[in-house]
């Protein structure tokens, strides 16, 4: 009994510790880090949100979607209608939206909620093919879904401004918003994974028919899974667009999907901690190597732009991982607080012994 109490106390303490460390880090970053590194850290957090959302559909219920780009795009545009300055909506481009929407400008939080809800609704549309189509055909269908959404966005110019996209987004996103939301999502989804609901989703992924026979209502769970995944992904997208401050129908295309899939795969499909790790690795990789694409000066030598270089490297890395260690860094497992504290305790013990 004491052991259990101790265990819970340790867990609570560790959790509090993590939150404190996180908040302190945020303060530090917000105050002292700037420019490139700050943006990189924010992108890291946003990619974590994307990767976590993708895990729910692609790994847990085992419906491999490459169409999330379409969901995110739809949600971003919807939120954009509310957060873009009226001067832009009325003056620079001429969007045919309801009177109220044209003249208003919301802050981030309501736009996040409303946009993500819309994203969730759009995502539910994907749930319906998931009912009829088998694994690979669903994957192809999700691609079609994304292409259709992109195509529609390009063509209804009066509402979306067509291929030119939207810009002049207010710079709402800060490190606090990104990591506050990312941390909350990581925590919630980790809890979800262990809950009955999460385990039901994973059961559907393992063996759909068996899950049905055990009494799991496939329709209900799939819809909720897609809605949740879409909600979270759109959240990430809205944060993204208020950081980068411009978007167009082609922004969340296949290259984007490939990046997120790479994060998932390298980190470990289905693992939330894996998603965090994968997002970190890939974001760092992509952003640090980005200058190569534009060309730069090294020791006085002008190195020419290498367009597409990072994508090639990422692709190669990705294929290597798939061939050699297909389960990724974490496999399906999660980093647990007890495991980390045990690991740290051992480290300290070993260090103490060696003195």
């Amino acid at each position: 009994m004491n052991n259990l109490k101790n265990h819970i106390r340790t867990k609570r303490a560790s959790l509090l510790g993590i939150v404190i460390i996180l908040v302190a880090t945020m303060y530090f970053i917000d105050g002292y880090v700037s420019g490139f590194w700050k943006t990189l850290l924010m992108l890291f957090g946003i990619n974590v949100i994307f990767a976590v959302s993708l895990n729910i559909t692609n790994s847990w219920i085992n419906f491999f979607s490459i169409g999330h780009g379409g969901i995110i795009l739809a949600g971003i545009y919807f939120a954009a209608f509310f957060t873009l300055p009226p001067g832009f909506k009325n003056g620079i481009v001429h969007l045919h939206l309801p009177e109220y929407v044209l003249n208003t400008q919301w802050t981030l939080l309501p736009a996040l909620l409303v946009g993500s809800l819309f994203g969730a609704l759009v995502a539910v549309l994907l749930a319906f093919p998931a009912l009829r189509l088998k694994s690979f055909y669903f994957c192809a269908g999700s691609l079609g879904f994304a292409i259709i959404v992109t195509n529609i966005a390009e063509n209804i110019r009066s509402i979306t401004n067509g291929p030119a996209g939207l810009w002049q987004f207010p710079a709402y996103t800060s490190i606090w918003w990104v990591w506050g939301i990312a941390a909350a999502i990581v925590y919630l989804i980790l809890m979800l994974k262990k809950s009955a609901f999460g385990r039901a989703l994973i059961a559907i992924g393992r063996d759909q028919d068996l899950a049905e026979h055990m009494g799991i209502n496939l329709l209900k769970y799939k819809i909720i899974a897609f809605a949740l995944s879409g909600f979270i992904a759109t959240c990430g997208g809205i944060l993204w667009v208020h950081l980068i401050r411009t978007v167009s129908p082609s922004t969340f295309g296949l290259t984007f999907m490939f990046d997120i899939v790479a994060m998932m795969v390298i980190g470990g499909m289905g693992s939330i901690s894996g998603a965090v790790i994968g997002a970190g690795v890939i974001t760092f990789f992509l952003e640090v190597l980005a200058p190569i694409e534009e060309g730069f000066t090294l020791f006085g030598l002008q190195i020419p732009p290498f367009l597409g270089f990072t994508t090639i490297l990422l692709g190669i890395l990705f294929i290597i991982v798939l061939i050699r260690k297909p389960e990724g860094i974490m496999g399906e497992k999660e980093l647990s607080i007890t495991a980390i504290s045990r690991f740290l305790k051992k480290l300290i013990e070993d260090f103490g012994r060696s003195q």
């Binding site: 491999f64 490459i66 093919p129 009829r132 189509l133 694994s135 690979f136 055909y137 994957c139 192809a140 269908g141 691609l143 079609g144 292409i147 259709i148 195509n151 529609i152 390009e154 063509n155 296949l254 290259t255 490939f258 899939v261 795969v265 290498f306 367009l307 597409g308 270089f309 994508t311 090639i312 692709g315 190669i316 990705f318 294929i319 798939l322 061939i323 297909p326």
Partner: protein, 293 residues
């Protein structure tokens, strides 16, 4: 009525390209269950090879054709050996993602070395010209391409139907391990299928160049989706089905666009996906018979 006929005739060229690509695609899809997203890049490789031979090196057209086929086969084989063979038994989705990776790598490599701009494809005078038939205008190149494709299709069909090798290909399509027990070297069959599929891509690349007068590093992306949908609609593993579907999609797409209001013309790619979803919901095995279990 005439309008429809005219549109259909105009679409014969593009339909032929899709037919050949679909046929090649369905072969690899049927034989190894591989959804090869990099199939478009095999086409692109051939197109670029032809461009280099003709526009850069100034070699005659027939050399360009050979270069195209050679380029496609080379890239096709490289993709197969490097990317697909190691993950052969891992599952369809992993294979698909690997092919997606390969596609992105190849496309970016091409953009890196040659740039993304449109590159001219020199069309020999032989292909220029229009015939008139009553009120219909028939472009000479459409007819040539269409006839050649039909000939290729019939040859392919005969080969697959009548020869010992064709029987072996179809049996590997259906049940690979049982075929092994019959003494069929499935590795050889797979490699051969890839080569055959790539040859079709090389030919399709030449047709593309003839039709549009240009090639680029990005043409792969435009066609791979069409090829995939053509093979699904035609029944997986069914070469004749894929060829027929290529024309159905090509002509259907042209008619679809023709009847759209002018400012919605951008919705053209949607036609393919519409057909895709329709077929998958109504007749998932394809319009014609599939060749897999």
């Amino acid at each position: 009525m005439e309008y429809i006929l005219q549109q259909s005739i105009n679409a014969l060229g593009w339909g032929s390209v899709m037919a050949l690509l679909g046929a090649g695609y369905t072969m690899t899809f049927g034989i190894i269950g591989l959804v090869n997203f990099a199939h478009g890049e095999v086409l692109m490789a051939g197109a670029i090879a032809a461009y280099i031979a003709m526009s850069v090196l100034g070699l005659p057209f027939w050399v360009g054709v050979i270069a195209s086929v050679a380029g496609s086969v080379a890239i096709g084989l490289i993709i197969e050996r490097v990317c697909f063979k190691p993950v052969r038994n891992v599952g369809m989705i992993t294979l698909f993602i690997v092919s997606l990776g390969a596609s992105i790598i190849l496309r970016n490599l091409s953009i890196l070395t040659l740039g993304d701009q449109l590159k001219p494809f020199l069309v020999p005078d032989f292909f220029a010209g229009v015939f008139t038939f009553g009120n219909l205008y028939i472009f000479k190149k459409n007819i040539i391409i269409f006839s050649l494709t039909v000939i290729i299709g019939v040859t392919l069909a005969t080969f697959v139907r009548k020869t010992k090798f064709g029987v072996a290909m179809r049996s590997v399509s259906y049940d690979s391990s049982l075929s092994q027990a019959m003494g069929i070297n499935t590795e050889k069959i797979i490699v051969f299928t890839f080569i055959l599929s790539s040859i079709l891509c090389g030919i399709a690349a030449v047709f593309w160049g003839l039709l549009y007068g240009y090639v680029s590093s990005s043409i792969g992306v435009e066609v791979v989706v069409a090829a995939f949908i053509a093979s699904v609609v035609g029944g997986i593993g069914n070469i004749n089905g894929a060829i027929a579907s290529g024309y159905i999609l090509g002509i259907g797409g042209a008619l679809f666009v023709a009847f759209l209001p002018p400012d919605l013309v951008g919705l053209r790619p949607l036609f393919l996906w519409l057909v895709f979803f329709l077929i998958l919901f109504l007749k998932p095995s394809g319009l014609f018979r599939a060749n897999i279990k």
